[in-house]
Symmetry: C2
């Protein structure tokens, strides 16, 4: 049911001709209330696409009536003209809905450094407005796909209220050009501040821990809209639980559909002094091309894992190199920084999922970061993207 699972939302997805394939490329999500609370998390890249610049300001008051999203062009690095394009898009959609442009958020995804064909985009926005429907969530999810092989949606029911969502992205919150966008919706009755806190908690533990290729995009945006249409007031804890679960579901779908990947890799670091230290060590492993290529080769090459762990500066994570254990798919191949069980005992070919567990023996904190293997298809897809 995607973003229209919760009550109070309509959505649509249409083909506006932004994609040369003719596939759907403009989506619209509208919050019919009774309230229009909104929260957002954006890329921390210093190069920010025009829609990110716009939406960051527009969502600043915690209110949004609608989100218009397009694939087929990121509208990033397009200068003041690109920003005006985004502004025009918001104004155009606002006119159609009879609201203020400041209550229309904009998301774009696609190639960087190319202006959007505004005539097509605005006509597409009109068509989407006309097509808005209470069951339009799946169509909206279709329209935001770029290299995604499937649309990603979620709908989690709670007691009288629910959280829905859609996402696009070929692997991570920060997937570079194959930007990640997500719109989450709920019909719970919540304050904007609670909404914001729940979304930040959720993204920190889910989308932020999906690290397909280590590249951070100019367009990444995660939005959470609340309509209050269920009439059910929920606590901050209840909301946070459901939003985090929905985001985790979508994040896992992104990993499973990462560009050209043949393995999903969960790197869990235990025994860290702090959660942040565990995340740093896990990221060092998930960003090692040598580790990722070895996983592609179904090669339990724990030396590369330990070598990646060793690149983390001591001020970021305290541990002794000769105390670190590494397991791959449950086999303790490295014990205390040295040889453990024979690597031949590890079977990596049997399943798409690979579990790397690292114990630093330096504390009680832990964290898991997901990544994918580095494959021929990744190289192929990413060497041919804009050509």
């Amino acid at each position: 049911m995607s973003v229209t699972g919760p009550a109070g939302f309509r959505a649509a997805g249409v083909a506006a001709g932004l994609k040369s394939s003719g596939a759907p490329d403009v989506a619209l999500v509208v919050n019919d209330g009774p309230v229009q609370a909104a929260a957002a998390v954006f890329t921390t890249n210093r190069v920010q696409a025009a829609p990110v610049q716009w939406s960051r300001v527009a969502v600043g008051d915690g209110v949004a009536r609608a989100v218009v999203l397009n694939s087929g062009g990121a509208n990033a690095c397009t200068g003041p003209e690109g920003f005006l394009d985004t502004h025009r898009t918001a104004e155009h959609v606002a006119e159609g809905l009879g609201c203020s442009a400041g209550d229309v958020l904009v998301c774009s995804t696609g190639l960087i450094g190319v202006r959007l064909p505004m005539d097509r985009l605005l006509a597409g926005a009109d068509a989407a407005t006309a097509a808005l429907a209470g069951d339009g969530g799946p169509a909206a999810a279709e329209a935001i796909r770029t290299t995604d092989s499937v649309a990603k949606t979620v709908h989690l029911e709670r007691a009288g209220w629910s959280v829905g969502g859609m996402a696009k992205g070929a692997g991570m919150l920060a997937p570079g050009l194959a930007t990640m966008l997500s719109v989450l919706t709920t019909d719970a009755v919540v304050e904007p501040a609670t909404l914001d806190a729940a979304l930040r908690h959720a993204t920190r533990l889910t989308f932020d821990r999906v690290d397909s290729d280590g590249c951070m995009s100019t367009n990444d945006t995660v939005l959470l809209l609340a309509s209050g249409a269920s009439g059910v007031e929920v606590s901050a804890a209840e909301l946070t639980e459901a939003v985090t679960a929905a985001a985790a579901d979508l994040a896992r779908q992104l990993v499973a559909d990462a560009e050209g990947a043949s393995h999903d890799v969960a790197v869990t670091v235990r025994g860290a002094e702090t959660e942040q230290a565990a995340v740093q060590v896990a990221r060092a492993v998930t960003r090692s091309n040598l580790v990722k290529a070895a996983v592609f080769g179904n090669d339990p090459n724990w030396g590369r894992i330990l070598s990646a762990v060793g690149t983390v500066p001591v001020e970021q994570a305290a541990f002794e190199a000769d105390e670190v254990d590494v397991s791959i798919n449950g086999v303790l191949v490295c014990r205390a920084g040295g040889l453990g069980e024979p690597r031949e005992l590890v079977d990596m070919a049997a399943a798409r999922e690979v579990l790397v567990e690292i114990d630093l023996h330096a504390g009680q904190a832990e964290a898991t970061v997901w990544t994918n293997d580095l494959t021929h298809d990744y190289v192929h897809e990413n060497s041919a993207y804009s050509t």
Copy 2:
């Protein structure tokens, strides 16, 4: 002429059966003096191979008589036993040469997490000692190859003295498993402290700026030995110039022979506040898989370059995203963070070398970091290394 170009050195390379291919795998370099000054730079990885642990201590007094190197096994993550293996190797070579074990440095390269076959290694060391010759430099360079398609050597003549050297590595100072090793030699008359300063200056500007796949190894070692055999006293400036030039030559050879690469990419960042800021920005670009895959596709995808630049935290490099210029092979494809010349004007297919120039317009400092493209062959070679 490799390491035996300068006077006062003998070297050898032999096949000891460490490599299953039967190719040469044990090298020995001996400094016959009259002095035996030595300096070294090692990997900063917290996981350090046994030979790194040994050599770091052994070279601490600024004196070394010999270096024994092996390919066919990194002797990393091999615990106390692995360290004893390294110690035995040094003692064995020292006996053969009639010197102290503390004056024998050891370097190893190959798979992590596997013990070395000591009987073969020690027999190989004996054979290398017997084969030592004043023209043995090229044979030594052959014996340290792993995935290198060619041996890398250099010899730069100066006024009555010279600098020689050899290196192995498939791309960088910190290439993960395909470790980088280099031995530089000179017959100049210099103090150990001068030698050390010259080597640190040289590695900082050369090997440290070669960043083929962003992975840092457990075994990386660069050694500089001085025999004083020319009788020519040189200034610190003269030595630094020659050692830096020799290291730059070898570093360039490493890039040109990087595993599976089809392009060498020089990323030059100008207009930075500090040299360190320029290096940080350049590294963000050279470590982006999306940029590297685009280069493989001969795709002047400057959006990915700008997106990588934008990931550098402001505390590491001051710049405004909308002031950054990017040129690829001389074409200014991105002006002031936005569209510049048409990307179609860029020809990347014509040459192996690709020049990316980034102007931050934030100062006067600059730096260049080299990398390679991300290719199918890189994935292939690195997914099949240990299997």
